[in-house]
Symmetry: C2
Subunit: 169 residues, 2 copies
């Protein structure tokens, strides 16, 4: 089982603005230049919170965005969206319950990422840092206090974005 976080944050560490909007991030650069297509091709499952799903749904048909993965939304309410499955449990329990070895992409948000970080289950962190300060918003990192070391694998530049690639040591 390999768990990846891959996504954009601002220089001040926000995943999204206070209204959970993501538009400003995608406007800053072009995804065509990045390694996203290769990354996505390697993934089997996506995990996301309800608010990430809703932000995605606002931008178009979610099924066309993540067409080849099994897509899990952690929510206590039902979901009427082809290609997406509502799961009411905990991300840690869900991952531990998977029987086969899978590549899992944590799309967002921090309520999904935090428990997985706390359990040292996140193997790869790939961040595109947008050249923007927001001063408020939804932070990527909200895990409990605790020193966790990673290994810097690579530093790249895609236009206005700096991409930082980390793995568990």
């Amino acid at each position: 089982m390999s768990i990846f976080f891959y996504g954009c944050i601002t220089l001040d560490g926000y995943l999204a603005d206070k209204n959970h909007g993501l538009d400003w991030l995608c406007q800053t650069g072009t995804t065509e230049e990045t390694g996203y297509a290769d990354f996505y091709r390697g993934m089997d499952i996506t995990l996301m919170g309800k608010r990430t799903f809703l932000a995605l749904a606002q931008m178009g048909d979610p099924a066309t965005v993540y067409p080849t993965t099994q897509n899990i939304v952690f929510t206590h309410t039902a979901l009427d969206q082809e290609g997406f499955t509502a799961v009411s449990g905990d991300p840690v329990d869900f991952v531990k319950g998977l029987e086969q070895d899978k590549n899992i992409w944590v799309v967002g948000g921090n309520t999904v990422l935090a428990p997985l970080l706390e359990q040292d289950m996140v193997e790869h962190i790939i961040l595109q840092v947008a050249p923007v300060l927001l001063g408020a918003g939804v932070p990527l990192f909200s895990q409990a206090e605790g020193l966790k070391r990673f290994r810097l694998e690579d530093v790249r530049r895609y236009g206005a974005f700096a991409e930082l690639v980390y793995s568990k040591p």
Copy 2:
């Protein structure tokens, strides 16, 4: 007048741990490899908060750390340290009151940086990102809400650190 922030942060955006300790950061990599010597040579004035000064003083003689700059500590109490001047006013007012064009390095902490960011007075942000999560501590960015765009000038790697270089557009 050019104002620079130059310094280490964790992957989750902390300048220091909850006790304002900085040791863990410097242990991660070697400063010899970086552009620090060239950077410091170009600076005329350093600005820092009282807690940054105290953390510095704990690590040795502050005068030997910043020997060629004029060093300003924002504090309401007196300071008995050669080479360092206590200033009880506001960082913004202090900088605006300088008569000559100077290169100013904001060493830390966030209470000094935040008002300068809010006034769009910070021209250069140079971050060394340590491959570490803390989960709690003193955040670098604590400025008020507001979208601020920077231009990514360079992305470098120094050992375990990723260095991101930004300027005002």
